[in-house]
Amino acid sequence: MQSNWYQSHKIDSEKPPIMLKISKLHKSYPIGDSSLHVLKGIDLSVEEGEMVAIMGSSGSGKSTLLNIIGMLDELDEGEYVLDNVPIVNLTEKKAAIYRNKFLGFIFQSFNLISYKNALENVGLPLYYQGLKRSERVEKALFHLEKVGLKAWAKHLPNELSGGQKQRVAIARALAANPKLLLADEPTGALDTKTSHEIMDFIQSLNDEGKTILMVTHEEDIANMCKRIVRLKDGVIMEDVKIEQVRASQYV
């Protein structure tokens, strides 16, 4: 109740600040002699606290868009401002610092490091922030507890189920306290029940105010977000706010 009141109150009094703003974004990939124009002038603005699903068939450019937002890829043309910081002339070093400070990644295939246990995996972004080991362990444990896996801290990824792996990955994405969570098909490798559990958790993160951007091609997962952006052939076809379907009713 209280969090609902807080959000509506906030919207009434002032517009929430812009988290990211993309304008006239173009991206093409060279294929042999010719090139493939993947994104053809994308304009997108996301406010703080939003939960956006980017949808589209394969080849629509949705993953490319997410990668550019995540600074894993570079844009050819256009502007990208993240949290009032214009992302230009990205060197490897600068990209590393921004990724570490601003962004948390959740992948379809979890991308946990196989020889590190859950605690070490969650602690990795903190390691790259230069935190001391004791602080890292403390923070990592806190986030593991948040995803309900504190008891599994010493387990290696291959000792965990798919849902548990994704929860470790979410804990890792949260560890550095990023401003923006980027999820690329976060439920793509999970069964329906586990998908709903993960979505329930992601929704609770959004309820706490975290801005979330996810790429999906599943209609029911997209409906659990608050806004759907549909891409087709590199352009935005539709951008609508929707009534969020709570995942908790399926759990």
């Binding site: 894993l72 070093k93 610092i97 990724r99 490091i113 020889y115 590190k116 550095a176």
Partner: protein, 409 residues
């Protein structure tokens, strides 16, 4: 700064890929092992050579005389050249500063006895400088001195083994030894690294021998050491001048090789030095060749490792790993593997040499050890080698694009 977490990362990664790390290190272990053994053997050979010359001062020149083989200045071939005291004085005065120590020698075989014990030995009658030329080590008493020479004293300095043979368990110092029926007082006992034969020598003053064995002023041999400040070439020039002057003095043909023979130890020393140097170079080339093969091996496997870990590196970069942190992980891993493997090889090599020393001594290889300097040198070499081995793979790793690495296959 020492970064414990970095090391933890590296050890975790090496530990995770034990077989692969082991394999990549193997070539280096083998290279260093080979190098250590070869180096030890070369060292041992060098020691053997050096020992062959340690008996005498390495700057010694031995002058012997014989019969002339060529007629010269109206004198017939076959004339016997005999050195005398005046020749000794001539050399001493003529060359002055260039001569460090000088002594003459007269050889005489004697039957020596003390109480009921007797045996045959060689007497070497000499000047006081002789002990420097032969590296004679006095253990008791003193060596022959100038006073002995002036007064033609019947004193003897005997070798350790002479004392052992004749005086049994008692000290010979101050006792009288009978040499061919004449009593000599033992004034000193010596030992010599030149071996048992040297320690069976008896030294007496040269003047005493001249009086007793012929009542003349003949000398069998003149030995001297040149000023050690001279280099090889200077020393060889010196002995050439010396030969020419002596040949002129005795009216010997310049081309006569037998009448006056001058043997300069510098020649031998030079040859030994050159041989040891040559051997060292060959071993260095072999060692480095093998090490390069090892480095290439490690580099190859590290490139493979980077390929294998592309995804992991991509994940790390997505989580905020700087290119520098990726480079240092790969580089330090490479250096670490190289060093561990290298030292393993070094210690195995040292162990093998240690075990093989008794066997190797039969093959004229003495004390084939590897010393601290070599270990320090090896460490530096290994760090450099590891860095070279890791450079390319590390560069490759730092260029990995996370987007490519994270693409689901």
């Amino acid at each position: 700064m020492f970064d414990l977490d970095l090391w933890r990362e590296i050890f975790q990664s090496i530990n995770m890929n034990r077989t692969r790390s082991l394999l990549s290190g193997f070539t280096v272990t083998f290279a260093i092992l080979l190098f250590a053994i070869l180096f030890g053997i070369a060292n041992g050979l060098g020691n053997t050579f050096a020992e062959g010359f340690v008996d005498d001062a390495s700057n010694a020149i031995f002058i012997n005389s014989g019969r002339t083989t060529k007629a010269s200045n109206g004198l017939q071939a076959g004339r016997r050249i005999q050195f005398k005291n005046e020749d000794f004085d001539y050399l001493k005065n003529e060359f002055g500063d260039k001569v460090q120590y000088i002594t003459a020698r007269i050889y005489q075989n004697v039957n020596a006895s003390y109480k009921n014990e007797n045996n045959n030995y060689t007497v070497r009658a000499c000047h006081p400088d002789h002990k420097y030329l032969e590296n004679t080590l006095i253990t008791e008493g003193r060596f022959i001195n100038q006073l002995d020479l002036n007064e033609k004293k019947k004193v003897a300095v005997i070798g350790r083994l002479v004392e052992e043979d004749l005086f049994l368990k008692t000290s010979a110092l101050g006792k009288f030894i009978n040499l061919n029926g004449i009593q000599y007082k033992v004034v000193g006992i010596f030992k010599d690294d030149g071996g048992d034969n040297e320690e069976r020598m008896i030294y007496t003053p040269v003047t005493t021998a001249q009086q007793i064995y012929g009542n003349n002023d003949y000398l069998d041999q003149i030995n001297l050491t040149y000023n050690p400040k001279m280099g090889y070439d200077e020393a060889l020039g010196f002995s050439n001048t010396l030969t020419t002057k002596l040949k002129k003095r005795f009216q010997v043909a310049a081309s006569d090789q037998r009448a006056i023979r001058v043997r300069n130890m510098a020649e031998g020393t030079k040859i030994v030095d050159q041989m040891t140097f040559g051997l060292g170079m060959i071993i260095l080339v072999i060692g480095f060749g093998t090490l390069i093969a090892g480095v290439v091996g490690i580099s190859n496997i590290m490139i493979f490792i980077v390929k294998e870990r592309t995804k992991e590196i991509g994940i790390r970069k997505a989580l905020g790993a700087s290119p520098k942190s990726i480079v240092s992980i790969i580089l330090i891993e490479s250096v670490l593997i190289t060093m561990i493997a290298g030292f393993l090889g070094l210690f195995i090599g040292m162990g093998v040499l240690e075990l093989a020393t008794p066997v190797l001594e039969d093959f004229f290889i003495k004390d084939p050890s590897v010393n601290t300097n070599h270990i320090v040198g090896a460490t530096i070499t290994l760090i450099v080698a590891g860095t070279i081995a890791g450079y390319l793979p590390a560069k490759k790793a730092s260029q990995i694009k996370p987007i490519v690495a994270l693409r689901d296959e």
